[in-house]
Amino acid sequence: SSPQTICIGFGSGDCGGQGLSVSLPLVSEGYVASKPPLFRSLAPHLRAVSLALGTEHALLLTADGTIYTWGRGSHGQLGHGLLSPEEEPRALEALWGVPMSSVAAGGWHSACISAGGDLYVWGWNESGQLGLPSRGLKKDLTRAATGELNASKIFQSSHGVFISIQAFPALLDIPQVSEICKVSCGSRHTAAVTGTGDLYTWGWGEYGQLGQGGTCSSDQAERVDFFSSRGLHVEDVTCGQWNTFAFARPEPSCKRIYT
């Protein structure tokens, strides 16, 4: 079918002076749902640098390296040590004194990187998306291995410390990694790029989003060997809900995008 023209305007209902006329090839049964943006001014003292949006919460990074969070907190994703919501941006006191350089938000978890390259995570860990021991994961792994639910193995492996919700930021130490440069969060997984151009992923992997070649989930950060084994230097990563996009460059020449 021939491309149809959509008129996208902001602020007013018609395309008048503020409108922007764009030609979009609509696929059959496709649709565009357009609602005008809601405007909300931030408190004047907050000098916003970047904003990350989760399913039900938001993280704001300000110029002095302070993080503010707000929204629903039922899974500890706000990082204030509680499960209650915050209607207004609230400073993350647990990280005061450590200037942050980037923030990321997933379905129900959050991550940030300090100026020094340290990675902090908090929120929901039911699929190991925080890189901390996850109880649910141990059960699923046992189930997959034995083909059906082997109850006795499950009960034995229930020992040890498991974290389902981390309501305060935790420093995530990845063995042999000294600096994290980028982090991105999907619905229930996380991906990070190191200073040496390696990509690490962890969390929910049912749809292959961890890039490890299978559909296993992991509560430990694992390097994605696809890139390192091909001499590819990962420079950036961004996660969709159930997928991951990495930007990598083979030394020394052209750029490619891998999903």
């Binding site: 399913t55 039900e56 039922s74 209650s84 059906e148 639910l149 109850a151 009960f155 229930s158 159930w242």
Partner: protein
């Protein structure tokens, strides 16, 4: 001499399981066009398209590999169920989740499913019943019924004669028998009239143990509740179990396991993984056969709500399960069916002496361990007056609204609570 004739018992097994798909199929609309997929506008059209693909799978010849559509529907809607509070979650997403469970269960029953597959399908149905909303005339209930019959028919002879724990558990402090002083005993009454109950106990908010009011329950007579009976009726059903000493502990968690596994590991034996308690679960909605064995106390008619508004919960677990001191926003009839329970009651007037938690999540729960109170942290607790009792099978304890109660099981125990207003 070797024979290539299959032994009779496994031939029987194969014949039985081959019927499964036929029986499952008969529960579905005859034609795909009679199988509606209608949802509110909050449900992404893209997801409805995926559901249509999953539905198609039930109507065309089985493909050799399992396709992902049912799982996509389940995963997508499960994430929606985890957004917002339980109350807020649109009923539409719970319906979608139930459809996902139906597609998953149906897919597992294609061809010639093994008993293990059928058990997985029952589990899928249970997830839909526990977390989804009713769909297609309660098809998940009917599907469980069909699958359970198939499993029963091919199950080897059960060797479950066990009522006693197989493994001798070391005696814990928590198994101690409490000594009830006469002065603090909860009053007992045998079958009081509705009027007497209302004027002497309901209106005055006085606890009382009603005797003789459950004698007619099938749970005590024709279908006497025993471990074996519960296994027969609901052994393969998946239920939520609380693991850990009490819900105020850091290591407390919930898990979903079959009733058989719960009985094997937490009721009869112990793996050293802590206490397990099938607590505060509307088991009788999930397993209608068990609902037939109990009756709503007549005294509930003195309340305002309709019978449908009464919440009925099952409380089933080994000796030593503890419910910390807490209060509930409704009237409660706690019916004891199997085993004995120790109960301590405090009036809501004593609330300040019971040191409730500050957080919103736990403000209805006391910080004090009733049977081992910390006198330094909670000095006023010891001066608060209380009543206490040991509930026997057949007793029904009336816990007035907001009355603080602490409960410890003294035996393997099964109680049924009725929350009414």
């Amino acid at each position: 001499t070797k024979s290539d004739v299959t032994p009779p018992s496994s031939r029987f097994l194969k014949w039985r399981m081959a019927d499964v798909w036929r029986d499952v199929r008969s529960l579905l609309p005859a034609a795909e066009s009679d199988f509606p997929l209608e949802f509110g506008e909050d449900v992404d059209p893209g997801l409805v398209a995926v559901m249509a693909r999953a539905r198609r799978r039930l109507y065309v010849a089985a493909s050799p590999s399992r396709d992902p559509w049912a799982r996509v529907v389940l995963d997508f809607s499960w994430e929606k169920l985890n957004a917002g509070t339980w109350r807020d979650v649109g009923a539409e997403w719970r319906r979608v989740y139930a459809y996902g469970c139906l597609f998953e269960a149906g897919g597992l029953c294609r061809g010639d499913p093994t008993p293990a597959r059928v058990r997985e399908a029952i589990r899928a149905c249970d997830m839909g019943l526990l977390m989804g909303a009713p769909i297609m005339g309660d098809v998940l209930h009917r599907l469980v019924g069909v699958l359970r019959k198939k499993l029963d028919a091919c199950r080897p002879e059960q060797a479950h004669h066990t009522e006693e724990p197989r493994v001798k558990r070391p005696k814990k402090d928590s198994d101690r028998m409490p000594v009830i002083s006469e002065a603090k005993s909860v009053r007992r009454m045998r079958c009081p009239s509705l009027e007497r109950f209302r004027s002497e106990f309901l209106d005055t908010r006085e606890p009382v143990i009603l005797e003789g009011t459950t004698d007619h329950w099938p749970a005590f007579k024709d279908h006497e509740w025993s471990i074996d009976y519960l296994r027969t009726v609901a052994g393969c059903r998946t239920v939520p179990v609380e693991v850990g000493s009490r819900y105020t502990d850091e290591d407390w968690s919930q898990t979903l396991i079959t009733l058989n596994d719960f009985i094997d590991h937490y009721v009869l034996g112990e793996d050293g993984t802590g206490t397990g308690y099938l607590a505060q679960h509307q088991l009788f909605d999930q397993v209608p056969e068990l609902k037939e064995d109990i009756r709503i106390p007549d005294y509930c008619c003195l309340g305002e709500g309709a019978e449908d508004d009464i919440t009925i919960n099952a409380w089933f677990g080994p000796v030593g399960t503890v419910s910390p001191l807490h209060q509930d926003p409704q009237q409660n009839f706690l019916a004891q069916v199997v085993g004995r329970k120790f109960v301590r009651l405090y009036s809501p007037e004593e609330s300040k002496n019971l040191y409730p938690h500050q957080s919103e999540l736990l403000h209805n729960t006391s910080q004090v361990d009733v049977e081992d109170p910390d006198a330094e942290r909670f000095p006023d607790f010891l001066k608060a007056p209380y009543q206490e009792c040991v509930l026997q099978p057949g007793d029904v304890l009336f816990i007035p609204v907001k009355h603080w109660h602490y409960i410890r099981s003294l035996d393997l125990s099964f109680s049924v609570s009725f929350w009414w207003s």
